[in-house]
């Protein structure tokens, strides 16, 4: 349960369920946090619905087709001169994204400690991991489109809807990762150049960026489970 909080006017807000009443009935703001952070949370909530509806659509389609659905562990296997290893690229992509979430969490921590140098390098590392992830996804797409003949309207392996659901869901996710990489680079450079020092030494922006990045990882957790493992 959350503890009591102090508003900027000096009022004490109770924690727990009493706090919910106090927060929602407050006269100035409902969420005791900088507006930028609250707005990022709400954007992520809306994005949850976007991905949620896409995944639900994929579920509906997969359940209702009579054709066999391509088996993901076979489709996404890679062989390095020997037996094909199922889902190996996806496993690597998952580990990369988890690593990026770790570096991001550390960057947020460093930001609050006002260590601009470490924050910059950790955000840069996060962005590099993100770029690696997108590159691997591009490789995966290329392999499916060029080698396997997967199209949104059909594929030689099974149900025709596999392609459209796969490209739509991973495409949207990849777009979010790419946008995140750009966002990270912009903020990282600003941190390095002292942009936020001039604005009072407030590094909440790093946490806000972190929220977006962790969301991207979160969506991948669901895509990995529902699309590749199921």
């Amino acid at each position: 349960m959350s503890e009591a909080a102090l508003t900027d006017t000096g009022d004490v807000l109770p924690g727990g369920t009493n706090g919910v009443v106090a927060d929602f009935s407050a006269d100035k703001q409902a969420f005791q946090m900088p507006w930028g952070k609250a707005m990022m949370w709400f954007f992520l909530l809306s994005d949850t619905f976007i991905f949620g509806t896409f995944l639900t659509g994929y579920m509906t389609v997969r359940m209702s087709v009579r054709d066999a659905w391509p088996v993901p562990s076979e489709v996404f296997a890679l062989s390095f001169g020997g037996e094909p290893i199922p889902l190996i690229l996806i496993a690597i992509m998952t580990f990369i994204l988890i690593s990026s979430s770790g570096t991001m969490a550390m960057a947020v921590n460093m930001g609050y400690r006002k260590d601009r140098n470490k924050t910059f390098w950790l955000m840069l590392a996060t962005a590099v991991f993100g770029a690696m992830f997108v590159s691997m996804q591009v490789f995966e797409w290329t392999k499916l489109i060029v080698d396997e003949g997967v199209r949104p309207w059909g594929n030689p392996m099974g149900a025709a809807q596999f392609g459209s659901t796969f490209f739509m869901i991973t495409g949207f996710h990849g777009l979010h990762v790419s946008a995140g990489v750009i966002y990270l680079l912009v903020i990282a450079l600003r941190v390095k150049r002292g942009f936020y020092e001039k604005r009072g030494g407030n590094y909440e922006i790093v946490e806000i960026t972190g929220l977006y990045w962790h969301f991207v990882d979160l969506v991948w957790v669901f895509i990995f489970a529902f699309f590749y493992l199921w």
């Binding site: 909080a5 919910v20 946090m33 992520l44 909530l45 639900t56 209702s64 889902l87 979430s101």
Partner: protein, 113 residues
């Protein structure tokens, strides 16, 4: 500006959760590699998925330390998605059965969903 700024926790907690995420991911991958099937397969997939998602939300995204008002505002609405999922499951099942009936082929055909 509210007093929630400066959400600092000892950095060690992030390393622990980071390690835990790797472990859960490895287990998730093992579910496929070891070729679990049926109920066990999707139970394990879902369990590891929710564990990973939960830890990312709670620790990395600081949700555990936020006020209850935010927790509710963010976590309650997606529950509505579960209603959509339930409705769509019912409809997909119906569509599948209807397709079998109207195609004239028997329902005894095994299909990998």
């Amino acid at each position: 500006m509210a007093q929630q700024s400066g959400q600092q926790h000892p950095i060690s907690i992030y390393f622990w959760i980071w390690g835990l995420l790797f472990v859960f991911s490895f287990f998730s991958y093992m579910v496929d590699y070891l070729n679990f099937q049926g109920t066990m397969r999707w139970a394990l997939i879902l369990i590891f998925m929710f564990l990973k998602a939960g830890f990312i939300l709670a620790i990395f995204m600081h949700m555990a330390w936020e006020r209850l008002a935010l927790k509710i505002a963010i976590l309650a609405p997606p529950l509505a998605l579960l209603v959509l999922v339930a409705l769509m499951m019912t409809e997909a099942d119906y569509t599948f059965l209807t397709r079998i009936v109207f195609s004239g082929e028997g329902a005894s055909l095994p299909v990998h969903h």
